[in-house]
Symmetry: C2
Subunit: 179 residues, 2 copies
């Protein structure tokens, strides 16, 4: 499918509500579980998405629209650990919803043209990218982390399903380590 | 984590709302896409979950509680294709929410004891199982199919993310074929 700005904004607008329905009010045993070292719990996923709202997508898009030639700041994948040490999931879900709504209003206010979407940026590790690729990645990044949160939750019952294990691939999927 | 009936019911109750927030109102290009032959689109996922409500979880649990020794009926993984050929996603999402709410009310009405949860059943392919394993599988099955729907959606932008592909494992994960 080709990138579509309206549909992308529509999908991005759904993520806070999806995560609130999925996670809001769950006990720590569900939201704090991880798959392994340096992987994210559902709680971490929400924090990581907040980091994206504050430090990644909009700042990078602004650099592109401002025709800045320097590379983006790297996305600190573990900023949320210290930032949210004393936070509750409920407050993070609310904060994420608020940040996302504000950021999507910013994107709408840009009235992006096809030419804008093809403007170049410089990723610190990946090199030349475009605004359209950045916005597509924002959508896929959301969906990937929803899938991760759901998978981590499913694994909490891995020892409870008995012989059904082999019909439930979500229990054996794993985060692919970064190269 | 050990099986917990209340928490399981809580999780199962969230799935219709999660899927409605995620999928409701999306265009066909998002909800009808598949990863490959004999795999499920997000539309198919909702139909497959409805099939589970009508033909799998509760009928099997009833057989266990009735101490029936015969094997469960097999779960027809493609019943939804003909059943829902003329349906809209919106109507399926509503139907799923309705069926799920009724089924969870049935489960609550059973007032299951620890002894009940350990009652045996006979799976047509997997052999001896317990009621607790069946209910755990119901939860994991939901979560697995939410992850699947999200993953299939993410892949629609696989050609749009450019160099970011290698930071987005959700784009390269695949359904593990059944043995």
């Amino acid at each position: 499918m080709e990138f579509d700005l309206e549909q992308s904004i529509d999908l991005l607008a759904r993520t806070p509500g999806t995560l609130k329905t999925l996670l809001g009010g769950l006990s720590d045993s569900w939201i704090r579980a991880r798959e392994g070292p340096n992987t994210f719990s559902p709680f971490d996923v929400v924090g990581h998405l907040i980091d994206g709202e504050e430090t990644d997508w909009i700042p990078r898009a602004r650099m592109i629209l401002a025709r800045e030639a320097r590379a983006f700041e790297p996305y600190d994948r573990f900023r949320h650990h210290t930032r949210n040490a004393d936070r509750t999931l409920a407050s993070l879900l609310d904060e994420f919803a608020d940040l996302r709504a504000k950021n999507l209003a910013v994107v709408r206010s840009w009235n992006l043209t096809t030419d804008d979407l093809n403007l170049p940026g410089q990723h610190p590790a990946l090199g030349a990218v475009t605004l359209k690729q950045l916005l597509s990645t924002w959508v896929v990044h959301d969906l990937g982390h929803i899938a991760q949160a759901v998978r981590v939750m499913a694994k909490q019952y891995a020892d409870e399903v008995g012989p059904w294990m082999r019909f439930l691939p979500v229990l054996t999927d794993r985060e692919v380590p970064r190269s």
